[in-house]
Amino acid sequence: MNVFNPSSINFAWLPILPLVAVAGGAIAVLLVGVRLQDEESEGLGFLALVSLLAAFILTLFTLGQNTLAFGGALATDDYSAFFELIIIAVAALTVGMSLQYVADAALAGAEFYGLVLFAAFGMMLMAAAGDLIIIFLGLETMSIAVYALAGFERRDPRSNEAAIKYFLLGAFSTGFLLYGIALVYGATGTIRLEPIRAALTSGLAANPLLLLGLGMMLIGFGFKVAAVPFHMWTPDAYEGAPTPVTAFMAVGVKLAAFAGFLRIFLVHLGPVSARWTMVLWVLAVLTMTIGNVNALVQTSIKRMLAYSAIAHAGYVMVGMAAAPAPSAGGAILYYLLGYAFASLGAFALVIALERARETHGLIADYRGLARTNPGLAAAMALFMLSLAGVPPLAGFVGKFYVFSAALSSGLVWLVIIAVLNSVISAYYYIGVIVAMYMQEGRIEVEQMSARPALLISIAVAVAGTVIIGIFPQPPMNASVNAFASAVGRPAIHATALLP
């Protein structure tokens, strides 16, 4: 019975510094917040931004070194860095667009920003996780924070309702995810990802426990990324939650969920991809189709965006169904990047306009926006077009890569279905543009200059959507290398990537 000896742990500071920064920021915000009134919450926002900035910079340092820290608990590779950077950016943008909102709604700033940071912490953890339990914990941290955020607008019954629905179903699916983890653990005897892959490659791919666990985890993640039929919570939660939170859910949560999803399935369950691509094929079709067709008939902008978020998850799953293709991973990462900017931007627009007056956030309310505020209208149009996948915007290039990956692994029909879905989606995305540009109506927008943070967030989103669309090379390299690093392959040369 040897005594416990700390030196037996290989202790690496660098990988956890970004996490520490974020968590520290959260705690700081909470502590400072105790002394502040809700009205003066901007300060806290900036504090949060500072910590995020710090985390961002620290993450940059972790680039390039692909190590497993803490006995494999944390995987510090470009993959995690890639997602962490995006997540931090997303969180920062969320904070940015919340500043005014929180102040106007007189929400409890300390808790709000604190929770955003906690959620970000959880997300980063999911991206960096090296074993199942860390992923689980990260996911829970994120979820719990987001449950709370969803119900944050306590005076709005819809907010409570969104929170409770999200919470109940979330906890429900946590059960399934856990069960899945349990079974995989039972089948492989470990919860570290690397050994699991090793175990798989050494046979036992047919183990029923493994298969069931695989299925259960698939369900758990399917819920988080809002894949049909585990998507039902999405529209309600998105619509009810305070809009900045919605944005955070639609982008941050989805990204983090995919970060874990991809790392587990594409990277470490890759050897048995034959066992799950079929399921993803079906899920992708369902998700895209139902998402788009539903979005088609929505009249509330937030609900419409919710369904569009579902549909986009579907496109990503098209990429996942193409797992055998070497290019799939990079394509998906790039797609998520493009999606993040456009979607965030759209929600930022929603915030800008919904604060303009007491609107129900109907698409119809956007009529005539092109008159009253051409700038905003143009930005919104840009995001819509990017989401619809019109070149040369990011959305198009993403679709382009994902489809080509799918084709290269022979999923012609899946791609055609996806393409038809894109046509459907064009219909409702353009519906927004029609409302803004081609229909009469008067929506007054309060002076944007009064809300610099929001304005900057929108600007960033626009820049991102356009730039990574026109110069897809650097981000594409980044995502390719990121995925390669996760697989542990040296950065494959790109020509190996497309079909």
């Binding site: 409570n160 409770i164 109940l168 906890a171 069960y179």
Partner: protein, 101 residues
């Protein structure tokens, strides 16, 4: 003679299913939440049993974490329920339909 692990797994499966059923058939949000706790426990049982089978402690450690998570969830969940009750004066799942379509 000792009980095969399979039985424990079966039991966990049954409990899990009952939990699911509770989630589906009970109107009261709190009771639904309880059913979820039930599911989590079924999973815990599975963890311990499987851990026993592979002969490693990991299962138990995970259960430890799951308990923590359960506690955290309980805290937030109940808080949500409270604020919900404040604004809506009901915990009946049927009446939570402001958001639909």
């Amino acid at each position: 003679m000792t009980t095969p692990i399979g039985y424990f797994m079966a039991l966990s499966a049954v409990l899990f299913a009952i939990g699911v059923a509770g989630m589906l058939i009970r109107r009261n949000v709190i009771v639904m939440f309880m059913s979820i706790e039930l599911m989590l426990n079924a999973v815990n049982l599975a963890f311990v049993a499987l851990g026993r089978r592979v002969g490693s402690m990991d299962g138990q450690v995970i259960v430890f974490f799951v308990m923590t998570v359960a506690a955290a969830e309980a805290a937030v969940g109940l808080a949500i329920i409270i604020s919900l009750f404040r604004s809506r004066e009901t915990l009946n799942a049927d009446e939570l339909n402001l958001l639909r379509w």
